[in-house]
């Protein structure tokens, strides 16, 4: 079983580095850094993590394609692969639409086309080919990397919809999933079918789960998990929530609490919304409970093909303790 750490560029780099070192010391498999598009620069963040660790694998999770020219994704990834001594995996995705729009002035569109073009071209560039490609997103003319990395970085997708999952099945080396269990298990099927159709072995596509994951031995820790789930539900697209028809009333109740929020009242809103999180919803979105219960949950996900589990953020009230607490799982 692979236990990995999740960071985001919204976190102070000093904290990120401290958590990364605890993760490395605790035997974590990989550190994912998610890009909050308007926050710190993801490849700079990853570089610093890479420089302060020696063994643990490192990945972007994800770097937003729409936020930059494909050449900067390619050179950023290849640079990371060189700097980290081959420990890097490039996670790519679309990125949050409002943030991308704020950054570039354009709303992301034709996500499938963009992912397909970018992945096709990135693979060639990582194989040290000179590329000329005139597409919707990629526009290169005799461009090639001059970076002496040894092995091409693998490319993972962070995607959700069936169309993008199908492209992932065809082109990606791995997929970072998140969402309710019912959706996840269906999404894996979509991915696997697309992989088979493309003549690939679905088992060779890494399936990574980035859902809230926390050891909760006490009632107040469970309350924390409920707060996280309430926040996730408030931001999920409707096509994913459709998988939870039996929880429709509770989901609408949670959403309505967020819709009524007034400026400055977020903490109270989250607490209020978390009261409406049922045990069923908690189980759908979060792996939590005692260590034994978490092991059981891992088994359920592993049966569906998930090999790697990302922890946080958030990590609860004591992040360092929470990250170190997973050491026994990394040794399992």
């Amino acid at each position: 079983m692979r236990i990995s750490l999740g960071l985001t560029t919204g976190m102070r780099i000093k904290d990120g580095l401290e958590y990364a070192q605890i993760a490395e010391d605790s035997g974590y498999y990989r550190i994912f850094v998610g890009e909050d598009v308007l926050s710190r620069e993801v490849f700079t963040y990853l570089s610093l993590i890479s420089l302060r660790t020696q063994r643990v694998l490192i990945a972007s999770g994800i770097a937003a394609l729409f936020a930059r020219n494909v050449a900067l994704i390619a050179s950023g990834a290849a640079g990371m692969q060189e700097l980290s001594g081959g420990r890097f995996t490039l996670g790519i995705g679309i990125g949050g639409a409002p943030e991308i729009e704020k950054l570039t002035g354009k709303r992301p569109k034709k996500a499938g086309k963009v992912l397909r073009e970018a992945t096709t071209v990135l693979k060639k560039l990582f194989n040290k080919e000179k590329v000329t490609y005139n597409g919707f997103y990629v526009d290169l003319d005799g461009y090639e990397l001059e970076i002496p990395f040894k092995t091409p970085p693998e490319i993972y997708f962070g995607v959700r919809g069936p169309k993008l999952l199908s492209i992932a099945g065809e082109l990606a080396d791995g997929v970072i999933f998140s969402g309710p269990k019912k959706y996840l298990f269906q999404a894996v099927k979509v991915l696997d079918e697309a992989a088979e159709k493309a003549g690939k072995n679905p088992k060779e596509i890494a399936k990574v789960l980035w859902n809230p994951l926390m050891i909760a031995e006490k009632a107040e820790e469970l309350e924390q998990a409920k707060k996280i789930v309430a926040t996730i539900i408030s931001t999920l697209p409707s096509f994913i929530l459709k998988y939870l028809e039996d929880q429709k009333e509770q989901i609408e109740a949670i959403k309505s609490v967020y819709e009524a929020v007034e400026y400055g009242g977020m903490a109270e809103t989250i607490t209020e919304a978390s009261k409406k999180v049922t045990p069923e919803l908690l189980d759908q979105f979060c792996i939590t409970g005692s260590k034994e219960e978490i092991i059981e949950a891992f088994k359920e996900y592993q049966k569906e093909g998930f090999q790697e589990f990302i922890i946080g953020p958030p990590y609860g009230s004591e992040p360092k303790k929470a990250i170190a607490a997973f050491k026994p799982f990394t040794e399992a």
């Binding site: 780099i13 700079t44 570089s47 610093l48 900067l72 640079g79 570039t104 526009d139």
Partner: protein, 277 residues
Amino acid sequence: MKETIEKASLSERVGFDYIWVGESPTFALPFELIAAIAENTEKITIGLGIISPLLYNDIHIIKAFQTLKEIHGNRFIIGLGPGDRHHLESVGLEQKNFLKRIRECIKSLKEHKATKDMPVFVGAAGPKMIKLASSESDGVLLNYVYPTFIKWSLKLFKDKNYTVAYGPSLVCPDAKNRKRLLMATATVAISIREEIQEKFGMKETIDEIKKIFEEGNFEEIWKYEVFLAEKFALCSPVSKLKERIKELEKLGVDQIIFSYPSSHNKTSIEKLSKTFF
């Protein structure tokens, strides 16, 4: 990258005040290399010279330096410039409206709380850019080391400003690196705008050099060694090199960047340090 980091660390040890990191879309992201250099040095100032706002979003530049500053403190200089035309074209961009973009980017950097206290320099070679750099940035990175060009550039300054002269360099004799120097100077020469070539009566010679590049007949370039070394490089024996630097200082140059090939081998870095420190 490992070698570059070692050279950066050596440069700090032997007494250099600044390390400048160049950028090309074909290399690793400059932020990655700067992060690695900062991690392996203690206090030397690290300049990014230069990055093109035509390729990079202002927010990315700001946020990259915010991230670096959080860990390594305020020891960075952000150098902006239009970027190499051929490189930009290779990634689907045109080198146009760059004065406007550089102006906008300086404004963004100076207004954002993460970068407002960081020096922003501008790389300049043509008259418009020299005027902009001298009046709107914290320093001018001149792509020249030849006194005549420097004098001409300084006359174009709208305001007095911190001035950096940047060019290929070598402590001579150095037979091993002579060809590298020659190619570096030729690359600088052929990238000079035609109006400046004409102004200094170099157009015909530079056209001949361009032809050599187009035809790939590089052995021919040796014929232009004296021209290229004199006008586009700091290339002299130790005693003469000191004189050349003094001359530039007298003209008003505040900082000299010894660029490729001397910056790319440890022996040259040590030779330079023995000359100046």
